[in-house]
Structures are given as C-alpha cells and as structure tokens.
C-alpha cells in the first residue's frame, strides 16, 4: 500500500499535458506529414540524383568527350563515344554519351572529375521505369534532363 501511495502516478499528468499540447499544435497546422504525391520533400543543395549534361550559352553541349568521367566512374556506368568536333574551340565532342542509371551509385565522382563542368547531378530522384532500357540515358536525354 505504501508503494502504491508513494509511487509516481502523478508523473502521468505531464505526459497527458504533453500529448494534449501536441494534439492542439497538430490541429493548428504543426504536423510533420508531407502529402507525398502532391508535395515533395525539399532537397538540399548538393543532393545527388540523376545526371544532367550542361549546355553552353550557344546551346552546344559543354562536354568535350575527354573520358575523364568515364575513367573516374567506380561503377563503370558511363560509356562515351567521341567524334571530331565541328567547332574550332574544341577537338572532340561526344557522339554518344550513355549513363546506365541502374549501375550508377550516385557518388558524384564524374561531376568532380569533369574539367569543363559539363556533367552534374540533379536532385531528380524518381527512378521508376517500366523497362531496364529506359534507365540507360543517352545524350539527348541527358542534355534535357531538367526538373
């Protein structure tokens, strides 16, 4: 009986107050839920998602087909076929530029290796596709891979 009288049943009261306060806060808009298909979590700068090839101000791909990214890639997911450049300011341009996103580990090494800042990782992360081939991105797809 002494244990019952001296034990901490009164300590329940702060718990009840806490849950009630939490409830009132939630009702007035303080919830943590993101209504997923409509809303998305805002990703921070530097999130590594799908790749994108940048274009310069004339609309040409910045890539000079130096194969640095292909060499740096630890997952061997980049395949570049170079061809001669039609423009005088560079020697080579990529004829085809394929990234196998199913092999990619999104480490961002290609972005670091690129000497002319041509490849970057965007925050795009919705990776569902019906066929495996759909996740092998080619040059045109990578050039226009914007949000």
């Amino acid at each position: 009986m002494k244990k019952f009288l001296t034990c901490t049943y009164l300590n329940l009261i702060p718990g009840f107050i806490l849950t009630f306060r939490r409830m009132v806060m939630t009702i007035f808009g303080g919830h943590f839920t993101i209504q997923y298909p409509e809303e998305h979590y805002p990703f921070r700068q530097g999130f590594r998602g799908e790749h994108r090839l940048k274009q310069d101000e004339l609309g040409r791909p910045k890539c000079v087909a130096c194969l640095m990214c292909q060499t740096a890639c630890p997952a061997n997911c980049i395949t570049i076929v170079a061809t001669e450049s039609p423009w005088p300011d560079r020697e080579k341009v990529p004829q085809s530029f394929q990234i196998d996103l199913l092999r990619c580990i999104y480490c961002g090494m290609c972005e670091e290796a690129c000497p002319c800042d041509a490849i970057e990782l965007t925050p795009k992360h919705m990776q569902a596709a019906y066929f495996r081939e759909d996740k092998v991105y080619d040059l045109t797809r990578l050039l226009h891979n914007t949000e």
Partner: protein, 336 residues
C-alpha cells in the same frame, strides 16, 4: 400506433449506436494522428470521414478464413455475441428526456424498468464469453492466451464496476437509470453533489471501464507484440469487423453509462426542462452525446498517451489496490 412508435424508437437507438461506431473509428485514427503529429486519414471524403466506410468495404471483400481445427459453432458464435451484447446494453440507457405526444408519453429509452442497472451489469458480464469463446474456439495458442487474459482481466475489473454501481445505489437509492437522471436533475449531478466519494468512484469506474473495454493501457488481451492479435488472431473478414465494432459499441455504451451515472445524463442546467416537447428531447440528446464524446475523447487520449501494463501489474492493480479501495470507500459511505 404506439407499437409502431416504439419500433421506430428501437430502430433509432440501434442506428444511433451503430452510427457512432464509424465516427469513433475515424475519431480514433484522427486523434492518434494528431497526438503523434500526423494528419490522419484525409483522402476518402471530406476530412477522411468516409475512411471507415472504405475499411468496411475492404473487410467485406476479404476472404473469410475458418481454421481447420476450429470449433465451428463457437467460432461463429463468438463475434456475434461480441457485437450483440453491447447493443443490448444500449437498450437500458435513457438517451433523452420524454416526449409527450398528445396523451402518450414517449420515453427516449428502449427498455425502461425498475432494475435496469442490475440488467445492465448482467449483460455486461456476458462480454467475457465473447472473447473467451473466440479465443478458445480458434484453436490457436495465441488466441487462447488472449482469451484467458481477457477472461481473468474482465472478471477482476467487473468487481470494481459492481462496487461503483453499489455506490450509486447507496447514494441515490435507485436501480433505474431514468430515475437516476431525474434525481440528479433535482439534487445535482453525482460527481458534484457528493464530492470526495463521487469523484473517487468516478475515477475507479473509469479505470474499470477502460479495463472492461480492453482499451489501452489495459489492452493485454490483444497485445500485438506478445500475442499476435490476441483472441481475434484467427478471425478475418466480417467476423473480425464484428469484434472490432463490438469493441467500439461497448466503449460507446460504457461512456453513455458513465455520463448517466455520474454526469447527469441528458440533464444540463438550464438546457433541458420537463416540458416534454420535441425540441427539448433533441437538446437532451445533444447534451448526452456531448458528454459521451468528451468521455470517449478521454478514452482515446489515455490510449495514445500511456503504454501497456505488464500482466502481473494489471492484476495487482485490481486485486491489491483498486478493489480494497472500492470496498473501503463503500463501507465508509455506508457508515456515513
């Protein structure tokens, strides 16, 4: 004519108690969500109000599995009893003041007789059989353990409930719910008119009612981490839904009973008089529903705040502390 009116009343009472159930399921999910900082169901209908309907449709289309070695008769009987017993309980609850229609007094209570509290207690204790039968007939060790737990828990907490009913009998000298409300209307609600005792008995009754309805923190018969699903592990489809609905009906009826016994039922000072017109009855119904929903909110608030008891602590709480306290309080009250 009178029989038709009475039948309409019975139907109304049934629809009332069955209509509260989906609302409670929705409210439970919403309150749990709010307490945990979530939003809760909000896709089906406005504010997710049609979510219980979607759940029922889902359950109706589920496969109804009967275990091979189950005791078929009892296996089918248990969910039936789990749902029917609380619905019968509602017959004894007055849910509004009388309506006087010309020469006929129309009572807003399905079944009004002098000893309704005794009948209420008697039907209340059949709730044990539903869970015990369900647990035993499933022929599953978890169900059986859940059933045993439920049986011993309900039996031990029923004594506290009976003690509180005894207190009401001592205090108001009546065994009829309707008379109880009339006396409370005349002399003040139980909870305020007899202060230290009534509040203590209200708390005791509330704790025992939580245990009786198998609600957290007393939900050991269906403790998921220990017993898979407790006594309804083997039940699926509509049979499970009947257990589920029965539980919520029992909660509703318990809250109705508490509001009648301690909080003055449909009486609220200045709102409901004895004039017997239709508007007055509607107001009375609104008053008692408001009280019931406040109590149900407290039920849910407790459920989403407290963790589950350990089984020996649950038993010790009942037999070592609450039951002696009830007995002592009744003795003191009887002596005064």
């Amino acid at each position: 004519m009178n029989i038709v009116l009475e039948l309409v009343k019975v139907l109304f009472a049934f629809v009332l108690v069955m209509g509260i159930v989906p609302l409670l399921i929705w409210l439970e999910r919403k309150i749990s969500a709010w307490i945990q900082g979530r939003v809760g169901p909000n896709r089906v209908g406005p504010f997710g109000l049609l979510q219980p309907l979607a759940d029922v449709v889902k359950l109706l289309f589920k496969e109804d599995i009967v275990p091979t070695n189950a005791d078929k008769g009892m296996y089918f009987f248990a969910p039936l009893l789990a749902m029917v017993a609380p619905v019968i309980l509602f017959a004894f609850i007055p849910f509004g003041p009388d309506i006087v229609l010309a020469d006929y007094t129309f009572k807003l209570q399905v079944c009004d007789f002098g000893v309704s509290i005794l009948f209420f207690m008697a039907v209340l204790s059949t709730a044990v059989f539903a869970v015990a039968f369900g647990g035993w007939a499933s022929n599953n060790k978890y169900s059986l353990l859940g059933g045993i737990r439920a049986a011993s828990q309900l039996v031990s907490y029923e004594l506290i409930l009976s003690g509180s009913f005894l207190y009401i009998l001592l205090k108001w000298n009546t065994l009829s719910f309707r008379e109880l409300i009339e006396k409370q209307a005349a002399y003040g609600w139980t909870i305020v008119s007899d202060f230290p005792f009534s509040l203590l008995f209200f708390i005791l009754f509330f704790i025992a009612a939580l245990a009786e309805n198998k609600r957290a923190p007393f939900d050991l018969p269906e403790a998921e981490p220990e017993l898979v699903g407790g006594y309804h592990t083997e039940y699926s489809s509509m049979k499970f839904a009947m257990f589920f609905m029965g539980e919520y009906i029992a909660i509703t009826v318990m809250c109705f009973c508490m509001s009648v016994m301690f909080l003055g039922g449909y009486h609220f000072p200045g709102v409901v008089d004895v004039s017997g017109n239709f508007l007055n009855a509607l107001l009375g119904l609104a008053v008692i529903l408001a009280k019931v929903f406040i109590l149900i909110f407290i039920y849910m608030w407790i459920r989403w705040t407290l963790p589950r008891f350990r089984y020996d602590i649950l038993m010790r709480l009942s037999w070592h502390y609450l039951l002696p306290l009830t007995v002592i309080l009744i003795l003191v009250k009887a002596l005064i």
